[in-house]
């Protein structure tokens, strides 16, 4: 998985961090102090399709067959999250009770082409 730089146009992960204090949400979110809302961006040229997310799957094998035979028109590849991790949050709800919960798949860790 690539991390985005200024010049890159190939599918990559862009780091984006929001500090809750900066958006005035620190009064109701106790922890953590911010959210890593990373996201995926960039192009997926044909030679990158199917990697690295589904490299060993049946689907990847089919895609490779299609590519090998020059059948590109049927295949469109997207830059999507291939790995995510959960986020634990501690916050006040609307009745000012403190709630702690673990939210799965909240933070994008890696991107790849479908």
């Amino acid at each position: 998985s690539l991390d985005c730089d200024a010049n890159g146009s190939v599918c990559c992960k862009n780091d984006f961090y929001i500090k809750f204090r900066d958006i005035d949400w620190q009064d109701w979110i106790i922890a953590p102090e911010g959210y890593h809302m990373n996201y995926c961006m960039g192009q997926c040229p044909q030679h990158l399709a199917g990697s690295p997310g589904i490299a060993s799957s049946f689907h990847a094998a089919v895609l490779n067959q299609l590519k090998a035979n020059g059948i590109h028109t049927a295949v469109s590849s997207c830059c999507v999250p291939t790995q995510r991790r959960p986020l634990s949050m501690l916050y006040f709800d609307s009745t000012q009770n403190i709630v702690k919960t673990d939210i799965p798949d909240m933070i994008v860790e890696a991107c790849g082409c479908t």
């Binding site: 949400w25 830059c79 999507v80 009745t95 009770n97 403190i98 702690k100």
Partner: protein, 228 residues
């Protein structure tokens, strides 16, 4: 973008840098609120005193509270599959109960949310007493709104020679409360001969304010089948 043959994903590349950041912040806000099942950010009008908060968290997560008051959050593992929540609710301080034995807790709950209470505990502080040296028994009842009926839910025997915290397991009572779909949980504390020793929401002792801890998870309904 809905371009033919393109990817159905959100694009912000056509925007100026400042605008792009605003869009991303707005997306992040909406994402967090939807994951927490909130329609809008909670409006905190009366913040819980910091001492109260830290005390409750220290009791709940012993050893995982940093000096600055923030919590060292555990790495979620397989428990994530259960979509579990832990909740700390402080007793209302403005609850005017003439018998001075009542505790009230407020909950907000989506109408269709179906909670299973895994464990729920009430934390009560009893002041020290120089006159009472023997063991006393405190009982806890679930009160009904609009009637004098009450249901026994828990009791505990202890010595009140030294002031200390005491816990009462109230899992079934809280489950019954959620099953009824009520939003206000009312409990009554009965401690014969030691009634005045229980700290019941006194603002003069914020770090000893009673609180209720509940571990809950959303029940899966029987129709949650996904096509892949």
């Amino acid at each position: 973008r809905g371009e033919p043959g393109g990817c159905a994903s959100c694009g912000t590349t056509g925007l100026a840098r400042g605008e792009q950041e605003q869009v991303l912040i707005e997306m992040a806000k909406q994402h967090i609120l939807s994951k927490l099942h909130l329609s809008e950010r909670p409006n905190i009008t009366q913040p819980v005193p910091r001492a109260t908060l830290i005390n409750a968290l220290r009791k709940l997560h012993a050893g995982r509270l940093r000096k600055d008051g923030t919590l060292e959050l555990e790495k979620p593992a397989s428990r994530l599959r259960e979509r579990g929540y832990e909740m700390v609710s402080f007793a209302d301080t403005d609850f005017s109960d003439t018998s001075k034995s009542g505790l009230a807790f407020q909950f907000s709950k989506e109408a269709d949310a179906n909670f299973q209470v895994l464990k729920s505990t009430l934390w009560l502080y009893f002041r020290s007493s120089e006159t009472i040296k023997k063991k006393v028994t405190a009982r806890l009842f679930l009160a009904s709104t609009g009637s004098s009926n009450r249901t026994f839910i828990s009791q505990k025997k202890f010595e009140v020679a030294q002031g200390s915290w005491h816990t009462f397991v109230v899992t079934q009572g809280v489950q019954a409360f959620f099953d009824r779909g009520d939003k206000r949980l009312q409990l009554e504390v009965e401690c014969q001969g030691c009634q005045n020793l229980a700290v019941l929401g006194s603002q003069s002792e914020p770090s000893r304010q009673p609180f209720l801890v509940a571990q809950v998870r959303l029940r899966e309904d029987g129709h949650n089948i996904r096509k892949r």
